[in-house]
Symmetry: C2
Subunit: 406 residues, 2 copies
């Protein structure tokens, strides 16, 4: 069903447009906002006046730099308009970041995750505590937090927001919405970690002028395998998704996976899968809970020195990844792949297998090999993805609530 439009909606959309121009390009003057957004100067006036009245924008004076004529007055987000908390759940720690409305990092700390028995039971409580401490440290009121953006590996129900399955907690589900609902007024969102990576990469790629960005995939290699896809839709927005790539069926003859199935990509290409085949452990052995990086480095070193089984282990991992990517291209379209995560350090060993696996796709055979690149800044990308998503969401909310009621 299409939906009706109205003049008020026009104002909303254009207000969001102004806010997003400010996000992407930084503080800007009246006239620059006009050129960035394509709106008439008079319209920008009206909108900025509204937003200023609502306490969202402020005029940051100064900047007497050169030029004659009337000095420009820069608009920027009011930092105290609201706050955002980004929570990054990783295998051994949880990182909490407090960010103000302008996107500036205010505070950050990490807490170790309790792996022992009862760790999962204590987890919700730990999160609630840490969140409370985070705002207390900066003397911020809980109700001033607009959004809490959580990321984890695993599959996620973004609507609810519930963690459905994760490498950390298995099938144990957490409904973060319910968990934080009474105490926090903030909008709680939960996203797969690699989805955020893809989002951040797409944002960057789309900023480049003349880029004609269409789509990309982010592939995170580690103990588990994550995939994020970011594509531009017809309206020109970036839409990111995170399919259950690591536990997609690779080969019916494949080994046993942590998830209990046989033949998942992860069972071949996750660290424990590589370990298993390097040491010729029977493929139906129950996978190791955790493989230290040092262990992987040893296998890689011996592969680089010509050890056949170690070489083969990385090779077959690469083929599993390449086959998975080839299916990705079949389902969507050919797109560049960005590889991140701790597994990137073995990319030299994986590369040939990946290409071998990719070339089996009809798409790749018709249109050529996609571009594959390595990105070592996974952590930063995840954080940028958090910011972009949550702040953009917050902009929409603010426009919908604060401004209309004035």
């Amino acid at each position: 069903m299409l939906t009706k439009s109205s003049t008020e909606l026009v104002r909303q959309q254009n207000s969001v447009l102004v806010l997003s121009a400010l996000r992407r390009g930084g503080a800007a003057s009246h006239t620059e906002l006009s050129t960035r957004t394509g709106l008439a100067s008079a319209t920008v006036s009206a909108i900025t006046a509204d937003l200023e009245r609502a306490g969202v924008l402020e005029k940051s004076e100064q900047q007497a730099l050169g030029g004659r004529g009337r000095p420009r007055v820069l608009f920027s987000q009011r930092r105290d308009c609201g706050y955002l908390i980004a929570v990054r759940i990783s295998s051994d720690t949880v990182q909490y970041s407090l960010v103000d409305y302008s996107g500036r990092l205010m505070d950050r700390f990490e807490e170790p995750r309790n792996h022992g028995a009862g760790g999962a039971d204590a987890f919700p409580g730990e999160i609630k505590d840490a969140l409370s401490r985070l705002v207390a440290r900066s003397h911020i009121d809980k109700d001033a937090v607009l959004a809490i953006s959580i990321s984890s590996k695993g599959t996620v129900d973004a609507m609810n927001p519930t963690l459905l399955w994760s490498p950390l907690f298995g099938g144990r589900q957490f409904d973060f919405g319910k968990l934080l609902a009474p105490e926090w007024r903030a909008k709680v969102s939960l996203n797969n970690e690699t989805l955020l990576v893809a989002q951040a990469l797409a944002l960057k790629a789309d900023k480049v002028p003349e880029s004609k960005f269409q789509a990309l995939a982010a592939l995170s290699l580690g103990h588990s395998i994550g995939l994020g896809i970011a594509r531009k839709n017809r309206q020109g927005e970036i839409e990111a998704t995170a399919p259950n790539f690591g536990h997609m069926l690779n080969s019916a003859q494949g080994g046993l996976c942590r998830c209990g199935s046989y033949g998942c990509i992860e069972a071949s290409a996750g660290f424990y899968g590589i370990l298993r085949s390097a040491f010729q452990v029977p493929p139906d052995t129950i996978p190791a809970k955790f493989v230290p990086l040092a262990e992987m480095d040893k296998i890689a070193a011996s592969a680089r020195q010509g050890n056949r089984m170690a070489e083969y282990a990385f090779r077959q991992a690469g083929v599993a990844l390449g086959n998975g990517l080839s299916r990705l291209m079949s389902f969507y379209e050919r797109m560049p792949v960005h590889i991140t995560g701790p597994g990137t350090r073995y990319f030299d060993l994986l590369r040939r297998g990946i290409e071998e696996g990719l070339v089996q796709s009809h798409e790749v055979r018709l249109q050529g090999m996609p571009q594959i690149s390595v990105n070592l800044e996974e952590q930063r990308l995840v954080f940028e993805g958090h910011l972009d998503r949550a702040l953009t969401d917050a902009d929409y909310d603010i426009v919908a609530t604060k401004v209309s009621s004035s």
Copy 2:
């Protein structure tokens, strides 16, 4: 990039809304349009007046049926506002349908396709001839044709519109846009056949009140395998895509496919793949060009009588399909599957294999088996898909051009 909005765009969007309400619900009175669209009565007045002036709508009098009060005046599309041609390219014939703006079928004929040598060379000319004859028979001017909607099996570049690879012509490409550009002013579109099936099914599913339709897949079984996906996006529109499912990699150990690769789904589940494994022909044999249905029926009959190899051939075809569908669910989400095409008559033999293949997916294991149903009306669905897509497109075009200029 988001884009700016304006009051004129509001009118455009609402005009499209009115036209689409008319498409879906049939001729309607003033007040009914108002309730269907949610627009105020006065707004409907203004819009219908515009559209009437532009020659798009007309008041269809009559309908004195019962009731007191002022009789309602029904609005409906002016049939002569424009015409649409749907071209359905199938393996042995090409079907041409002429439809008026209201969606009523005016004329239809089929032409056999020349399979012999030089058939592909003659094909463009044949199409041009047939299109000219179609409009001549109904005494319609070529310039009155708003859209030519073409469908074929195979992969398609929808933007151009170019047939990139098809089971009928292999890698031989046809750019229908260029082919028809000088002679026809109509907008030429090209879509995968099963995409249209999915679109039509989704349209139907979405019409049911309280359906909460989210997504579905259409799987067409025959000599080749087609998949269409239709999903509702955030704006509530139905978006359909047709991945290259038949030639997606199923198993690296799979047989030789028509496309030249090894291990495509089609190489196991297409008719020639089933035939090959039923007769234990080596899997690297070059596939049969065409398998008559009678031949398939024989294999099926012997499978139903307990012949092991025949049974196994269908079983492994089903597993290949099920595995492919399981990957579909991994990449997107769990969604119901509608099976169409000539292969549906062997569904009893395929079913167990499909379910066996599906259950290997993490998604299915977590959320349960998706609903699988058989639909025998593939032809009609393709035609409905043609109509829905092309007429909706035409509505957008008309609103953007005719109305604004008045």
